[in-house]
């Protein structure tokens, strides 16, 4: 570990990608993630990396499809409307079982929406990125330091499972400056060789990167193979944080920026005598269902807080499975909830103290 430096989230993610041994970036400009490609355009020449500004997000996602198939650690970044366009390439990358890392610094939607912070792409990230039966490994940092750590993890898991990883942040995570420490850099030349990659069939049978399987039985087998990977992720890759849940009557479930605001709300509420805790999903897929399910045996109430009209709350309800009431509080369209608003919700749920 080196010394702490003050950095914007977007730039810190870019630096973390370099540290993770990523040397290929293909992207298209969009607010509010612009500092990320700008950082790589500046820094990649120093480390022999390739930065390419594509003609569109569609092209960018297919460039990462090509580069990932060729065996590289590869990154693209965008924001909500751009991710919709990248969905095509991402589906092929998942279908062809290739590792790649995608960053979505989410903004309000639908359509062109706004450029303000939002968590309205939860469904897209965790359930409906694109056509076909696939999942991404989805990470949601709530600080700049965590954005760095999770970027390193995203590349590692992508390679381990041969599956795309997605990091979702928002304009606050992307634009906010915080002190960060970076891990020691990984030398891309020392990463294990990908025997399946297209690098010329020298002395071996040709490698084929493909997501087409015309025989239904073949495709079903492929889908089941993918499912087995996702099931393994559900068993081994769930990450979350618990804050003051031991004695909590009410448990807030929130991720990313919203979880930070919820932490402040919890401090205020506890001063008023409410026993409130937080479960913060760090992986949105796989979702930390088990810890929520267990908590439902003790706590009286759950409150999902999101910057949307209610998306993650559906997964919270599935995990709680009717054992306890699940409430929801959300602001959307780029409006960020305040701790005071959340405290009010806690008071509504907990009654007068």
């Amino acid at each position: 570990m080196g010394e702490k430096v003050l950095m914007k989230g977007n730039e810190a993610i870019a630096e973390a990608a370099i540290r993770a041994g990523c040397r290929y970036f293909f992207g298209y400009p969009i607010t509010p993630q612009s500092e990320l490609p700008a950082y790589l355009a500046r820094k990649f020449p120093e480390v022999g990396g390739v930065f390419l500004q594509a003609e569109s997000e569609v092209a960018a996602s297919n460039m990462i499809y090509g580069a990932a198939g060729a065996g590289a650690r590869v990154l693209t970044s965008s924001s909500s409307p751009g991710i919709s366009l990248k969905a095509e390439g991402i589906s092929y990358i998942a279908g062809a079982e290739l590792p790649a890392v995608i960053i979505n610094i989410m903004r309000g939607g639908p359509g062109l929406g706004s450029i303000q912070p939002s968590q309205a792409d939860y469904f897209q990230a965790t359930k409906g990125m694109a056509h076909g039966d696939f999942r991404l490994f989805v990470l949601a940092p709530s600080s700049v330091q965590e954005a760095v750590d999770l970027t390193m993890l995203a590349f590692e898991i992508a390679d381990k499972y041969r599956n795309p990883s997605l990091i979702v942040g928002d304009g606050i995570i992307g634009q906010m400056m915080e002190p960060v420490e970076f891990p020691e850099p990984i030398d891309p030349d020392k990463l294990p060789k990908k025997e399946w990659a297209t690098d010329g069939a020298k002395g071996r049978k040709p490698n084929i990167i493909n997501s087409l399987a015309l025989e239904p039985e073949d495709l079903e087998n492929h889908n089941l193979k993918l499912k087995a990977k996702y099931d393994k992720m559900r068993e081994e890759e769930v990450r979350y944080e618990e804050i003051q849940t031991e004695d909590a009557d009410t448990i807030i479930v929130a991720y990313g920026t919203t979880a930070r605001i919820a932490s402040s709300a919890i401090e205020q509420a506890r001063k008023k005598g409410y026993k409130v805790g937080l479960i913060r999903p760090i992986t949105l897929f796989p979702f930390p269902s088990e810890v929520i399910s267990k908590a439902a045996e003790k706590a009286d109430n759950f409150l999902a807080v999101e910057m949307s009209t209610g998306q993650m709350v559906e997964d919270v309800r599935l995990a709680v499975n009717g054992k306890k009431p699940v409430h929801f509080y959300g602001r959307t369209g780029g409006v960020v909830p305040s701790p005071e608003e959340i405290v009010k919700e806690i008071e509504k749920i907990g009654g007068e103290r």
Binding site: Y24, F26, V50, L52, A54, E55, S56, V58, A59, A60, N62, M63, I64, Y65, G66, A67, A68, G69, A70, G71, A72, V74, E88, G89, Y92, A96, T198, D199, G200, A201, K202, G203, P206, N207, I208, I209, N210, S211, L212
Partner: protein, 248 residues
């Protein structure tokens, strides 16, 4: 002893799925022969399209990557940037390259991407059952232009080679045909030149190959070859549209 004929090493032994009389088989063969002759089979990565030649990855005996519809030049860009020392080509049809993939081919060419593109133009969507393509001729009947292509509604046949010639990043653009042995020889020569241009690091090269689709044109194979000669070559004149300086 000099080998004058034989089965190219750069083709697998898999039987083509192409319809009788389709010229994809000929084009596959000459591409494979050129790869053999240049001695680059083990250095080659091919990118297959979506369309009739979607299964090209089963036929070329080289590393292959199956792209999404129209995106082969983007996929090839990703591969070439990772392996600048390897030979990368795309094999695309006219629906793929001239319709859904226009942005990708234009910008790959404009960047002077060191890739080579084989563009097979048969003036129709074959795999999906004979729909009008941007390359379909005026008055050509297809399932989606049942009364013939009408320029007022559907525009004119798009001339991709002429368009790409205008870009500074493209260095070699040629249009060839495979309707008879003489033209097949010329086509092979152009493909070899295009591939050599990549190996020499000169820039983007594309060879447009006029091709037939007897099934969806509703013709006997021999009639389709005649139709190509009599109708397509007038709209899509053959020749080298752009050649780099110092290349014969």
């Amino acid at each position: 002893m000099k080998e004058v004929a034989g089965y190219p090493e750069s083709l697998t032994e898999k039987k083509f799925h192409y319809c009788p009389g389709c010229t994809h088989g000929i084009i596959h063969r000459i591409v494979a022969e050129v790869i053999d002759e240049l001695g680059i089979r083990e250095e080659t990565i091919g990118v297959a399209p979506v369309g009739c030649s979607v299964l090209a990855y089963e036929y070329f005996n080289v590393d292959m990557h199956e792209a999404s519809h129209g995106r082969a030049p983007a996929v090839a860009t990703g591969i070439k940037r990772v392996h600048p020392d390897k030979f990368v080509f795309t094999y695309q049809g006219d629906g793929d390259l001239a319709s859904i993939g226009t942005a990708e081919i234009v910008h790959a060419a404009n960047r002077g991407e060191l890739i080579s593109t084989i563009f097979v133009n048969n003036a129709i969507y074959g795999m999906t059952g004979g729909q009008m393509a941007p390359t379909s001729l005026i008055d050509q009947k297809t399932t989606t232009s049942p009364f013939g292509r009408n320029a007022k509604e559907a525009g004119h046949p798009i001339k991709m080679s002429e368009m790409l010639t205008e870009l500074t990043g493209s260095v070699y653009i040629a249009r060839v045909s495979v309707h008879d042995p003489k033209h097949i020889k010329q086509a092979k020569k152009a493909i070899k030149k295009a591939f050599q241009i990549q190996l020499d690091g000169k820039g983007f090269a594309m060879v447009e190959v006029l091709s037939t689709c007897p099934t969806n044109w509703g013709m006997k194979p021999q009639d389709a070859l005649e139709w190509l000669k009599d109708n397509m070559m007038e709209v899509y004149p053959l020749g080298e549209l752009k050649t780099p300086e110092g290349v014969e």
